[in-house]
Every structure is written in structure tokens, then in C-alpha cells.
Amino acid sequence: MIWQQLQSLAGSYPLALRGLGMTVVLSLISLVLGTLLGFGLGILRTGGNRLISGLIGAWVDLIRGTPFLVQIFLIFFILPEFGIELDAFTAGIIALTNLAACFICEIVVAGIRSVPTGQVEAALASGLSRWQRMRQVVLPQAMRIVLPPLVGQYVLLIKDSSVVSAIGLTDLTRVGWLVVQRVPNGLLVFFLVGVGYFIVCYPLIMLARRLERRMGAAHGEVQL
């Protein structure tokens, strides 16, 4: 019986790989986009324009304060009502990118605020423009504070990507649901699904831990 199940599971191996691939691709695209957007939002949020800063703050709070499943449903099922048709993949990317950006924005803001004002004043006094101050002086120092939680956030977001199975994307979690219909051993199937996520996340967990240790010691530039 268990032997049969294992055989049938082995037959699902191509499907599992596809699911794992989908999870990785979804996560990777939205983490890259979310990181870029998150840094942009974080920089704007600390930029001194009250209105922009307030709007970003409100949006971030809204996203952080609502379930991701609800956000994904809103994007996938409600937007079409307003004439914006999205396929599941695009909707998934948008929802995940937005979620990533909002969490990363907060991490970046904390990092920027941790840089002593004397640094900004020194940069200001030497005539660096706003962007040059950010790029040359503030961000490199903020990275020490930003990097460890940023990588930790990546882990959370890879796991959150499992929610996109709810709109029919065949990611690792959905593969689990499909397989369990053929192989009625939920424990075994979802144990293997869990292993799949863990394989993707574990290197990042290790990286976060290493960064945390390094940041404590480094005084100069951040080196990975």
C-alpha cells in the first residue's frame, strides 16, 4: 500500500518539479521587483515631502494590516470588474510584489533613519545633491541595518507565495493538492511539499544569520 503510494508519487515527479519551478519563478520575480519598489518607496517615505510620505505610510499600513489572501482575491477577481483583466500569473506577481515592497519599505525606512544626522549634514555641507547623499552616504550605511531583516523577509515572502495557489496557479502548494487526490496520504504529500519550501528557504536563512553576524563586526563597507 505505502509502496504503491510511493510509486505513484514518483510518477508525480515532473508535476512536482513544475510546481517547485513556479514557486521559485514567482518568488524570484516578485522579490526582485519588490526590492526595487521597496527601496524606492522607503527613500520617498523619508524624503521630506509630507504628502507623499503620508500616502506611502497609509498604503503600507493597509497592506500590512490585511490578509494576503484577501489582497490576491481583490486583484484577481475585483479588478476585472473595472475592466482590468489579468491572468493568474500576472495577478500573483502584482500581489506578491506589492506585499514585498511594503514590508521592504519599512525595513529600508528603519535603516535610513538609523544613519546619524551628522552624516547627512557632512554630505549636505560638501554640496552633494539629495540623490548623491542617499546613494553615497546614507544607503551604504543603512545597508548594515537593512540586510539581515531583508533576507529574513525574503524567506517569509517565499512562504507567502503559497497563497497564489488559491487563484489556480500551479505552484508547489497546488501540486500538493493535486497529488493528494491521486495519492490519498496527506501527511506524506504535504511533508514533501514542506521539504520543497525548506530547500528553497534554508540557504536564505543561513545567509540572514551570516549577515547578522557580519554586520555586528564590520566597520567598513558591507561585503557579502
Partner: protein, 252 residues
């Protein structure tokens, strides 16, 4: 040309400047003119507004009323490009404020490369020369955390000089230093003054003031109470408040 261009102005010209922090009047009706190549030492008790005074000159603080004209440009005037004006003004902080993630040389070359758009190789050559001039030829590649306080402050001065400024402002540049490092920084400042830099220096170092300052300005409670040559001020203070202040700093 701003309207003030018509009258004769100093390099730094305060005219009836007032500044408030909330309800606190930190600068009271300041009128002071610093001529080109002049060195003015500003002293006074803690909280009297010395830092605020010089921070106004490069716009780290903004003024409420009165006129402040620096290098012919009126601060707060929409026609004045503050970023551009700041490139002409070096500022040396009490706490050095070197960029901790950059080496001594990178600290010195950052603004010349990015603001003055000087080619990197040229900026680095000039940067090495400046670091050698402040006695740090062997520390070019050191990070600030690897330098002593006196060395960090000399890098900070070199960083300002790298922009070839017309004016240099110093806010208690030696008061965060151990006593044995004070003179190495003062020596560099004397050299800069002797090359004809226009300087405003907040300091209680009388030796420095006597050596290079044309004028000492004494502040108390946000106002300029007394102003004169170092000799007049230190030997024959005119007001009770300056006498009380001097007796205090002379006792240490």
C-alpha cells in the same frame, strides 16, 4: 545679481539676523561682517548660540529675519543655489562626521568627484597630496574607525580643502579630542589660515586665536556681546560677562 550686490559686502555678512527654535530666540539681532581672508574666532558659554551662528552660514540652519549674505549671495533668496554655495564653504564638525564606510582618501575625494566632476585619477592625486599636507600620507587607505580622533579631524579638514572652498567654518574642532591631539589639529588649522582662507572658528583655544585670528567675537545668550582683536579681548575684556567667561576658561 541680488539686490545686495550693489553695496559693499564682506565674505560673510550678518545684518540684523534673528533665529528662533520654537519660542527660544537663539540668535538675537546679529550683525557681523567677515572680510575675505579674515579669521574670526567665536567664543562664549555653552548654549550661547555659537554653533547655530556658523551653521546658518552654510544653511544647515535657516534664519527667520534679517539678511545673511555669503560670497555675494543672499541666503533664503530663491535666486541663491544653496547646493552650489555649499561647495564654496567647508564645515568641520566637532564630532568629525567622517563617512565610516569610506577610506580616508575616499572621504576626501567623494565630493570633488561627484560634485566638482573632477576625473577620479586627478581627484585621487589631489586627495593624496592633501592627506600628506595634513600629515596623513600613510593613512590614505585607513577607515575612520582605524584612526585616532586627531587623525580623523585632520582627514575631515582635508575633506573640506579638497573642494577648494572660499570659506571654512569650524565648530569646536578640538573639543572632542584628547589633550595630546589638540595641537596636531590646531597646527593644520593655522596652516590653512596662513594660506589666506576666510575662516569662522568656534573655539576656546586662546593660543590659536592669538596666533591667527584678526578678531574674537564673544557671544552670550544669543547676542554678540563683545568683539575685538585677540589681544584686546583676552587682555582687556570690556564686559562683566566676558570677564566671567574668561576667568572660567583660564582656570582650566
Amino acid at each position: 545679481m541680488t539686490k545686495t550686490g550693489l553695496t559693499k559686502t564682506g565674505m560673510i555678512d550678518f545684518r540684523g539676523v534673528n533665529k528662533w527654535f520654537g519660542s527660544l530666540n537663539v540668535l538675537k539681532d546679529i550683525t557681523l561682517s567677515v572680510e575675505p581672508r579674515e579669521v574670526v574666532v567665536v567664543c562664549g558659554p555653552s548654549g550661547s548660540g555659537k554653533s547655530t551662528l556658523i551653521r546658518c552660514v552654510n544653511g544647515l540652519e535657516t534664519i527667520k529675519d534679517g539678511d545673511l549674505v555669503v560670497d555675494g549671495q543672499r541666503l533664503g533668496d530663491p535666486a541663491t543655489n544653496m547646493t552650489q554655495l555649499r561647495t564654496e564653504i567647508g564645515f568641520v564638525f566637532q564630532a568629525f562626521n567622517l563617512y565610516p564606510h569610506k577610506t580616508a582618501l575616499e572621504n576626501v575625494t567623494l565630493a570633488p568627484i561627484h560634485v566638482r566632476k573632477i576625473p577620479r585619477a586627478e581627484a585621487e592625486k589631489a586627495g593624496r597630496e592633501l592627506l600628506a599636507k595634513v600629515g596623513l600620507a600613510d593613512k590614505v587607505n585607513a577607515y575612520p574607525a582605524q584612526l585616532s580622533g586627531g587623525q580623523q579631524q585632520r582627514v575631515a579638514i582635508a575633506r573640506c580643502l579638497g573642494m577648494r572652498p572660499k570659506i571654512m567654518l569650524f565648530d569646536e574642532p578640538t573639543s572632542a579630542l584628547d589633550p595630546e591631539m589638540i595641537s596636531e589639529v590646531l597646527d593644520v588649522m593655522v596652516a590653512v589660515a596662513e594660506e589666506g582662507m576666510t575662516m569662522m572658528v568656534v573655539t576656546h583655544e586662546m593660543g590659536f586665536a592669538r596666533k591667527v585670528a584678526q578678531r574674537v567675537v564673544f557671544m552670550d545668550a544669543g547676542a554678540i556681546v563683545e568683539s575685538g582683536t585677540p589681544d584686546e579681548f583676552f587682555s582687556h575684556p570690556k564686559t562683566d560677562r566676558s570677564r566671567a567667561f574668561l576667568s572660567k576658561i583660564l582656570r582650566h
